[in-house]
Symmetry: C2
Subunit: 312 residues, 2 copies
């Protein structure tokens, strides 16, 4: 049998079969297709103004580093766009240090400034300390991910404001988006379902707007991009990782995608069509000021400060 | 340890723990709670007029027979309500005959007229014959369920019109409803998502309106009702049963329900809140007349007649 040839350049050897489109691609045409897709996502959702200063949330994993590389490349043709990588140091021993080094060395290579925000500085405790204290205090209901999710989001917003960024880019992939849709449905959380979108609505001047340039890139392809581009990324999973529901949902969607290629895009597009209606149904949020930290919050005490009270 | 006591009557022994409500119930209070719930569902969704003639779709399985018993009981206090059981005989050797006998004997016991509609009479072929012919003709894409689903729905509507019923009651449970919600999302089918509801909108005078009095009853409890009431039902699964996607979705929702009791109700209620918006998003259907059978159809040829063309 002949070696299959890339269906785009028709010369180089194909190494990847994209099931949902039927394309066989060589490495070069594959990485170019990812970069083109990200550019078209950015255009379609009006993600970037020519003079934006983007804070890229970089964890050190494959998705965020692939995003960093692609945005660095994009920047070359946009002289007024500024990029800063922002990494949150939650303080997880034996895990985050390695990720920080990897993130830093990638930033250095790409000549992108790197800003680190730490839980310890921001909240007075590392995540390890919080979990230890919470468990000691008898708090068993909340997982580490419950703390980390809320506190990371707040930390990234702080980091973006520190560097005076106009927007935050996160590396949420198509898979993340579709999983979140289903999880929100299983939780009956219509407000969150309405909020999950490629560009967050401007809700408060203190919340830096977020964009998701990878929202149309399957996770598998974002990983493949990192491999092909030989990007050095952290491969170890977080020691606290749990996310039982997300794992269930991921497994189901992946099985479904295997049987019916294109399912992930189908769900993503269905949500797009539904969103205007969802936004009408979901109540508009009214912002108060958190009594503890002074940040905007839907409640008198923001979720982050509420969690920190458990710890103290 | 003491034997747990029913939390309602506080005298009889509890035999069932309803996780989502925290109740421990005896057999009598359990069956009464199911009957009360069905009555409240019927009231809440305005399912019945005092003088309706209800065609109950009875397959011979646990859900439809539990529904038959509960509606028969309800009828005692509604002298102007009429009931007829309608069973579709698809013509599945070694399966449907047993179900027909079971359905008939239950109807006799309850003194409810029993009307049978057969694929053979209606379409000229039994399901067995259709599948044999379709496979012989090289049709491999469509499963038996794809044929049966469409043709059964049409047959039940015919059966209901035969007996001049004003409404059709089906035994879709909370589980069926929630699975269908998720399946429609995975298929990106917003129109169907909007249509899935406890009482179908009146879309065409030739379509008998459908009601789902079990839409708030978990499948487990509908089965338990049949056991406790010692209802004789068919237990064998259909030899054609496939439904890979539904099985995946069922498994995921059941795991989720185990971890977070009440998930099924949560999804059901989220859909309720979303429905007005969904209906706005989904296009209104325009009905034509099917060129083959003369029944109302969204297309020039209705889905049933299209499938039958494959067979002929």
């Amino acid at each position: 049998m002949d070696t299959p040839v890339c269906c785009i350049c028709k010369t180089r050897e194909a190494f990847f079969f994209r099931q949902y489109s039927g394309e066989r691609l060589c490495k070069k045409c594959f990485t170019e297709s990812i970069e083109a897709k990200v550019r078209s996502t950015i255009t379609r959702y009006h993600m970037l103004n020519f003079n934006d200063h983007l804070a890229i949330a970089v964890s050190g994993g494959k998705d965020s580093l692939s995003l960093l590389y692609i945005l660095a490349k994009l920047k070359r043709s946009r002289p007024k766009t500024h990029l800063t990588a922002v990494t949150v140091d939650e303080g997880i021993k034996g895990y985050r240090n390695e990720a920080l080094e990897i993130a830093s060395s990638n930033c250095k290579k790409l000549e992108i400034p790197h800003h680190i925000v730490s839980f310890k500085e921001l909240y007075g405790f590392t995540l390890d300390e919080m979990i230890f204290k919470a468990r000691k205090g008898g708090q068993t209901e909340l997982t580490a991910c419950a703390y980390c999710g809320v506190l990371r989001r707040k930390a990234i917003n702080h980091g973006a404001r520190d560097v005076k960024a106009t927007k935050i880019a996160t590396a949420h992939t198509l898979d993340d988006e579709v999983q979140t849709v289903l999880m929100n449905i299983l939780r009956g959380d219509i407000a969150r379902l309405a909020k999950e979108k490629p560009v967050t609505s401007e809700v408060h001047p203190l919340f830096v707007q977020k964009i998701k340039p990878f929202c149309e890139i399957p996770e598998k392809e974002s990983a493949l991009y990192a491999y092909v581009k030989k990007i050095d990324f952290q491969d170890t999973p977080c020691p606290y990782a749990s996310g039982a529901l997300r794992n269930d949902v991921r497994g189901m969607i992946n099985r479904m995608e295997e049987k019916h290629a294109g399912t992930k895009f189908t769900v993503f597009k269905a949500l797009e069509r539904l969103r205007p209606a969802l936004e009408e149904t979901a109540k508009k949020e009214d912002f108060k000021v958190c009594a503890e930290c002074g940040e905007p919050s839907a409640l008198d005490l923001c979720k982050a400060c509420e969690l920190l009270r458990h710890v103290r």
